[in-house]
Symmetry: C2
Subunit: 477 residues, 2 copies
């Protein structure tokens, strides 16, 4: 057959593993980001694919020749841009087994292992994070691994639209959106919510921007309550409120408990986007990130909670964790079953078919890489990883405070530091350009109150104290 | 840091590669699908994740202990169910490098390599398939790798909704859907289209089922034309027509050229879902699958074309290929740019940011596994792979025709054979159950004209002539 034999894979696989190990070991010999002109990589490809097989042993060096001087290195320990995506070598081992299994877990029956390992590890993680038992599969809700927080937001919105329809059995599914549905965010909410609102057919007009409390970048619950009341009075239908824990720009957090209290009278779905910050709840001292997420006596909790294992929890992209407190909510909105997907186990209701928790039908065995991380690092290792980066951020913030030419744009949050040049906007912009020109670090900018800010997000899998020294060398020069 | 060192990864990686090789080499010692009760795998997990790191060297045997007697083996050569997802060992080598790089290609600038390799290989593949140059990035359109044909359908619909809005700059994006939008499929179209219509907010009422031509399972273009005219007269807006090449149930194909001709007067987007069959266009003798896809003189072509590399093109899930003929169509519908995603290269317009071609923001370097397949097998190897399975289907069909107790439910298409018991529906259902009870093969059923049918889909990466003999032994017993 036109594939490798297992023995050919064995010897080539060793070569490729070595190539990965060598690349990671030598990554600091390269700049974080190469200066490359658009089209450079494409121009190295032939117009037509080759007719004949070429030796795979040469593939790693071919890839290096084509891309090695023309890329942005997300696994470089000087990568402090966006939020790092820490593809730990531990998680790659799990990914390898996942590829070997080649399972496709659209239905329980198409891979009981893929489905149930995902249920088990998301239940374990929910408990380790301190999520209420109602977020577990054991407790009537459950977690799933999505490709990204963007997709998690879209399916949460889909479930919310279904729940908000006057007759959920026929309303939204049969009729579609009416134009009256509204989704509530702030100017600091991640753009994926606006994208989800657009994809879901609501249009930009379906997105309502709630004011932040004065002097903060956090949703003002009184403003939310007022906007909800006004909208309902105007005949509009509040469908979903997104509360962010740890915004992308500055790490700000909306007051989740107050958001829940404001949303509850209107039956709006509350989705918590804690894509970056949520995993910090593994550490007791950072468990404040869950404030208001769990149901309190005499108050509802949130309906869905999302945090990314692929940002800061040592798990290679993609592995966005979405928990819901009602295991029927996503299938109610998303399930469609043609004859070729009919299945006795599905019909029994005794199993979860994760195809009904997402837009795609097919799905990889992503839980294996997460399980490998839990197994190989243990919760203690994960906490050490998170704490290491939080300590770097605290140390950087302290140095910035003590530096004449730099200042904090806001207090650091967990592993995120936002800073600027004391000399003003032009100096801040110049600082960002100079830092990125150095080659040893990569940072991204954002805006706070219309002014440029430099973000430093610690989170790389190999980022340690020595990389803070390099960064400080660059920033304080 | 709490991860493996490169050297630890090196030695563990060799172990894990060996585990994958051993599992593939020994897969036929297992049944394709274990008889397993729901909850079996979950019950083997502790309630809480462990505090301490455990040796990763023991992880492969742990995974085997937990899942080894409780799974469905998609890479078993007797897997002829659904459409096989052929996770070639060749593609896993590419996936390994992709994990090692850990790139996140949301923007061109966040990974020029991820972006441009994807452009280059989808351009090469477009040419190898015989797609018109307007489907390439070089030619003003372009390909992208989506996670699944379901997601490809959703983004195509999103682009179509945007294009159909009276003022595309503000219409759909600002206002959302109106309820007048209609999408056209047949009863044989994959359920992912119905799901996309629902997610996009159109509701089930937005989906119109066009009749098939008498005696076929292919869309009747006259019926489509009449339905479009009626709908337009009624004030409805035809947004998208989906033509399927190779339906999931039986491999039927809609007449694409006639569908295009009917849709053109109304400006409806034509999406071709060739998720399974499209890759067969690599072989000249199967290039009929592209009939009507390319633009003809005095006629438009289709707007988007989707085929899955992860079904039958030796590439591990997920790798669904979506080509569009207008590179601006998807970004026009999907692009949203907050300050933290602003980028000089993006603003220049000289690059493609693939985040704007999909729902998720982040994306893996999936093109590496596809490139590894093209490199390691060459087009000649891919053709041999496809032809091998088509030959198996032809041989099976011949045996069924000659057998007293079996008959074809329809003519075989490429590598798909639909058969039934001559004794009637009950015997067909019993045949499927008996075959799957044997353990050496796995088949799925569907319905044709309300009657049960047994599907045999050849496509496994290791499925060869000897597996036809096993299958025949089971079916003809």
């Amino acid at each position: 057959m036109p594939d490798l034999t297992p023995d050919e894979f064995r010897s080539l696989g060793h070569l490729f593993v070595d190539a990965v190990a060598d690349a990671r070991a030598g990554i600091e010999r390269h700049p974080v980001r190469d200066a490359v002109a658009p089209g450079t990589v494409r121009a190295r490809f032939a117009r037509e694919a080759g007719e004949d097989p070429e030796p795979l042993a040469a593939f790693p060096s071919l890839v290096e020749a084509v891309t090695g001087d023309a890329d942005t290195r997300w696994q470089h320990p000087g990568f402090h841009a966006f939020f790092p995506a820490n593809a730990s070598l531990t998680s790659l081992l799990g990914e390898l087994l996942s590829g070997g299994a080649g399972a496709q877990g659209m239905l329980w029956s198409t891979s009981p292992a893929c489905t149930e390992v995902e249920q088990a590890v998301t239940d374990q993680l929910a408990r380790a994070l301190g999520l209420d038992e109602t977020f577990t599969h054991d407790g009537g809700g459950g977690g799933s691994i999505q490709d990204s927080a963007s997709s998690a937001a879209l399916v949460a919105l889909t479930a919310a639209l279904h729940r908000a329809a006057p007759d959920p059995a026929t309303g939204w599914r049969a009729r579609g959106v009416t134009g009256a549905e509204r989704v509530y965010v702030t100017a600091e909410t991640h753009s994926s919510l606006a994208k989800a609102v657009r994809v879901a057919g609501l249009g930009a007009g379906g997105l309502r921007s709630v004011a932040c409390s004065p002097g903060t970048r956090a949703m003002d619950p009184a403003a939310l309550a007022a906007m909800l009341a006004d909208d309902v009075a105007a005949g509009l239908v509040p469908v979903l409120v997104c509360a962010t824990v740890g915004t992308t720009s500055t790490g700000a957090s909306d007051p989740v408990a107050e958001v829940v209290a404001a949303a509850a009278p209107h039956g709006a779905w509350v989705h918590v986007d804690a894509a970056w910050a949520g995993v910090a709840a593994l550490c007791p001292e950072h468990r404040w990130v869950l404030g208001g997420v769990n149901p309190a006596p005499d108050a509802g909790g949130v309906d869905s909670f999302c945090t990314d294992a692929h940002k800061w929890l040592l798990t290679a992209f993609d592995a966005s964790l979405l928990w819901v407190r009602d295991a029927t909510a996503l299938p109610a909105a998303l399930s469609i079953t043609p004859p070729y997907l009919r299945d006795a186990h599905s019909d029994s209701g005794a199993v979860v078919d994760f195809r009904d928790w997402q837009v795609p039908l097919g799905r990889r065995f992503r839980a294996l890489k997460l399980w490998a991380v839990l197994h190989g690092q243990g919760l203690s290792g994960l906490r050490a990883h998170l704490r290491g980066h939080v300590a770097l951020a605290a140390e950087l913030a302290e140095r910035v405070r003590a530096h004449d030419g730099l200042e904090l744009a806001c207090d650091p949050v967990l592993s995120l530091v936002c800073l600027r040049a004391s000399a003003g906007d032009a100096a801040t912009t110049a600082l960002l350009e100079r830092a990125n020109g150095d080659g040893r670090v990569l940072l991204t900018g954002t805006e706070v109150a219309g002014h440029p800010v430099v973000r430093v997000a610690f989170g790389g899998v190999a980022t340690g104290p020595e990389h803070l020294e390099i960064l400080w060398d660059v920033l304080s020069a």
